[in-house]
Symmetry: C2
Subunit: 345 residues, 2 copies
């Protein structure tokens, strides 16, 4: 049998989803109905006539998702731990947001650390988690602590769906518009600055670092997007890069996408970073993940309403037939981008 590195992350996820589908063996007498099975941003099941439970879990591991060497002259180790706590919570809340109007209720955190970590850093980690939990009125309800050579921060959030139905990845229809709630690519620049230990050329670059380390989950935006005047038909969060997110929506909704790159706003700070680093802003916005924006489709007649209500939102392009695939255009010209998306294995 091959190694995981040979089959890749998406084959592994596919395998796991197939295992999950063996659920028909579970008796029908169970006191719930599955609304959104595994394979979306979060799992949704109807427990009682008025309770739709939402569950999501996300984990960060040292060496894969973060590096304690990111500490620098402008980012102390303690502040880094604070941000890691904040981000671990944000990742889960972003998954909740991507399902529509969710009220996150309880968060459970598993912390794996070795004995050499200072108690101060652990304090800051929990402070980061708790500050975001409290901002969103979520009860931090416990978890688990374990010893692990490399640090692990794993959070599970349990919540309730407030709307009568969720927004899944499956609802995009040909002729609709595809939009994002805000700028893409910024978190990736922050990651590059941290990894390359780049000196901050100007104060606005620090904002890029914080886009990577302290993302804000788009819970308010998703609450808007479930309303009939703004209704999103399919939705996913941009934890992955834009191309990967589009590919997931494409598979799940059986559609294609035409992305009009010249319409996509490139923030000044991204432009400046790219100029000084000799990078292409388009390459970054297509391949840089972890912005935790919402990527969604909607009827073209909702676009104005949405842009009035979510000022940072913008149109990326159109939903096309599946056979169209994913095409990036600059004006009339098709631009080729190889998938450089992050593959875990």
């Amino acid at each position: 049998m091959p190694k995981l590195s040979r089959i890749g992350e998406f084959s592994l996820i596919q395998k796991i989803q197939n295992w999950c589908k063996k659920r028909e063996k579970i008796k029908n007498s169970k006191p719930y109905k599955i609304i959104v099975p595994t394979g979306d941003d979060a799992f949704v099941a109807k427990l009682t006539s008025n309770t739709q439970l939402v569950v999501t879990t996300d984990t960060m591991v040292e060496g894969t998702h973060f590096d304690l060497n990111w500490k620098s002259s402008y980012l102390s180790l303690k502040e880094l731990w604070y941000c890691l706590g904040y981000k671990a919570m944000a990742m889960n809340l972003s998954d909740c947001a991507a399902m529509g109007h969710v009220e996150p209720l309880f968060a459970f955190a598993t912390l794996g650390v070795n004995g050499d970590i200072s108690v101060d850093c652990v304090d800051k980690l929990y402070l980061g988690m708790l500050q975001l939990a409290q901002k969103q009125q979520i009860l931090f309800a416990g978890g688990d602590t374990i010893r692990s050579e490399k640090s692990i921060i794993s959070i599970t959030v349990v919540g309730k769906l407030k709307s009568s139905f969720p927004i899944t990845r499956c609802g995009a229809k040909v002729g609709e518009t595809i939009m994002a709630t805000g700028p893409l690519g910024l978190a990736y620049c922050g990651l590059k600055i941290l990894n390359n230990k780049e000196k901050l050329k100007n104060s606005s670059w620090k904002s890029l670092v914080y886009k990577q380390l302290k993302p804000e989950p788009k819970l308010k935006e998703s609450e808007i997007l479930i309303n009939k005047d703004f209704l999103a038909t399919a939705m996913i969060d941009t934890s992955d890069d834009l191309l990967t997110s589009l590919e997931i929506l494409k598979e799940k909704s059986s559609v294609g996408f035409e992305i009009q790159l010249e319409k996509v706003p490139i923030p000044e700070v991204l432009k400046n970073y790219c100029l000084k680093s000799h990078l292409s802003p388009y390459q970054i916005l297509i391949h840089g993940g972890e912005d935790y924006q919402l990527l969604f489709t909607c009827s073209p007649n909702k676009v104005k309403n949405i842009q009035k209500k979510i000022a940072s939102s913008f149109v990326l392009g159109k939903v096309k037939e599946k056979s169209f695939g994913i095409q990036f255009k600059m004006g009339e010209k098709t631009v080729q981008f190889k998938n450089l998306g992050f593959q875990h294995f």
Copy 2:
């Protein structure tokens, strides 16, 4: 600030529980009531008048909780991965069992592995998780996959409390009896055999290895123990060793314990292993964890009923005043045991 190794695991857990207690800042308008806060085997909250949600999470990390070098002439790497999946699920279900009559509904698994792991091993891991999930009619509802140098298996189980109230760690009363659902110390012998790469002296020793690797959660026993004819007043699972479990019950219930060691059954296989390994069976049953039995207190007049219904159960001793502390007796003589319990940091 000191390192974690200096303050130890229980101080860290205490810190986390204090952070959790900051819940008063969460608005009272929340649509739930906390029934069992953090600090018990699982968290319980009343979501609606007839839905008490139970959530628990447990994680195993390579190097801390298991070792891939455990594979041997009688345990292939694939079988080891199968067992690890089974055990990760069992640990969580044991936490559910320790709350009373719980119906586990959904399981979410986070798997952290590096690309060198064979796909076959991952298959076996999920097979182990799924087999136990299906046996207990639990829906395997997804999770997360991440890259991690050291393997990580983390499971969260969400369920419903079937009885009207849970059994917590706080209900033990002076004069009651303390019992266990089955033998203690066997899993620890299995761990020693695996760690020391001991050759199996006889086939019964293999059963010790499986006590460590493939524990059975005591869901049926806990369903019995919530019934008024058998009612447990306080309960904890023996994921930790006996002494640590007693210390937790002591703190939570504000009582003491007198353990009558000569009453505690020592299974033949434990006796034989100890004889050949020059170990004291009492030392092992006090300090060896991971048996995933239930340790519980009850009124002395329930003991006969319980032993009829749960054949493997036995009396450990009596609940005493808090000032009595925890005393182990052999006949009239008090025996001293230093706490050698597993401290993570």
